[in-house]
Symmetry: none
Subunit: 250 residues, 2 copies
DNA sequence: ATAAATCATGCAATATCGTGCAGAGTCAAG
DNA sequence: CTTGACTCTGCACGATATTGCATGATTTAT
């Protein structure tokens, strides 16, 4: 692993976890603690993080992550969410995946709409408290990173459903490699839901395009539509259109 | 947890609660009181807080009416939650019912504690995002009023568990009629969980005592313990003690 | 006044840190 | 191709920091 890669990972990890523990990261990467410490020392000198005994913290201490993620790029996600909400009509069975972008979809859903919403994300379910929608919560063992149910019982519950639309949450979309994610179990669950759904749609912010994660979920050609921000360069998404996927701009 | 994070937490907690109790915080974080005391001593030396016997106070006391209003309603529940958290030990399987009082229990649980927590409330599950605990989410059809899973699939999932402690959320407790609630399905679920649990505990605020709702859950004699606010008139709860239920004051 | 809780201090075990040094790899000049 | 400067990395070692426990002092509550 290159030094710059390692340092990029540290930055990412700081943003997602709000902390770095030197010993843990050394073990995880199979490196000595000295290397990690040197990275942290240098990055602290560059003002990229705040060095503390035992590890490092972000320079701007992590706000409650709900707040952080909300403020990250709310505008774009809100627009995507509103556009996605237009696909939802009364009487349908909708499956909503976890993630902050899908949370915006939930917020954009009319409160009085008579739909049935299935989800394996307790966060999404909690957001539906004030809606009229019938909610089906998929249980299972919670995968802590993305906070969604996984495991055999979740798969069994999903097998009982036949959603009209699946709003898939994703972190990486690539024209050739399709959708991918960082966890094996998570990928399996998403695949199971998509395979049972009539339509599969995902909401995409720009930074996810072109990215690849270790675990393949489904190919672009298996998607019904991609909802992405308007105003992007055509060459960014022409590759997707060639796969006959519908592109909806928001 | 890194030292600086712990101290940041102390600052936050001082702002939100208006006080720090050394013993409680030590228990909550799974550390010795000495460590907390050292933090408080050092932070007091740095002028970040005011050290007092038993804990610490903010240097600039919070505006009185803001403090009282915010904490009046939740202060009692926070105390109940912290007391209840003392019952939870590493290695146990805990089932946590929905409700705002149980939410305070979750907030009081040590973040690093190795427990397994089952819940049929997406709200409770979402609160556990930052905890190390293994979380088992019980799925089903969400009963919107109390936001908990109900129905056959929830019952089936519960039948797989054998919780050590069930923290039952309730709205009505009566010395003769026991615990009751407003929805039939909800009562059935609570009964099912209680019947499979080794211990059943409930957190009670004063206004729930003596109330009766249409649907019976379980009798007082089937409870292991009631956790209720300290300082109530003895005649208020003597009737419960006669049922051989343990009364824990918080 | 007496019991219980809380505190400060010293001590030992562990974790983390900084520094110096050596081996391996890279790269460009010779 | 060889050589030497340079960088990166891991290890060793002593220094420092953190933590939990024991002990006796102090404070608080009854």
């Amino acid at each position: 692993m290159l030094t710059s890669q390692r340092r990029a990972l540290i930055t990412t990890r700081l943003a997602s976890d709000g902390q770095i523990v030197a010993g843990e990261l050394a073990q995880e990467l199979g490196l000595s603690e000295d290397t990690i410490r040197r990275d942290l020392r240098d990055m602290a000198a560059a003002g990229l993080l705040k060095r503390v005994h035992g590890g490092a913290l972000p320079v701007t201490p992590a706000l409650p992550d709900l707040e952080t993620r909300q403020t990250m790029s709310t505008d774009v996600k809100k627009r995507l969410g509103r556009k996605a909400a237009e696909l939802v009509h009364a009487g349908l069975l909708i499956f909503i995946d976890g993630g902050t972008t899908n949370a915006e979809l939930v917020r954009a859903l009319p409160r009085e709409l008579n739909v049935t919403i299935a989800t394996h994300s307790p966060v999404i379910a909690a957001l539906l408290e004030k809606h009229r929608a019938e909610v089906i919560l998929i249980g299972g063992r919670l995968y802590k990173h993305s906070m969604v149910s996984t495991g055999a019982s979740a798969l069994a519950a999903i097998a009982m459903l036949r959603p009209d639309i699946f709003f898939l949450g994703t972190t990486a979309v690539h024209p050739t490699y399709g959708l991918s994610t960082g966890d094996y179990e998570e990928a399996a669950i998403k695949r199971a839901i998509a395979s049972r759904s009539v339509e599969t749609v995902t909401l995409l912010t720009e930074e996810k395009l072109g990215a690849v994660s270790p675990h393949h979920v489904i190919g672009i050609e298996d998607m019904t539509a991609l909802i992405m921000p308007a105003g992007m360069a055509p060459e960014t998404y022409v590759a997707y259109r060639q796969k006959a996927v519908r592109i909806i701009e928001a």
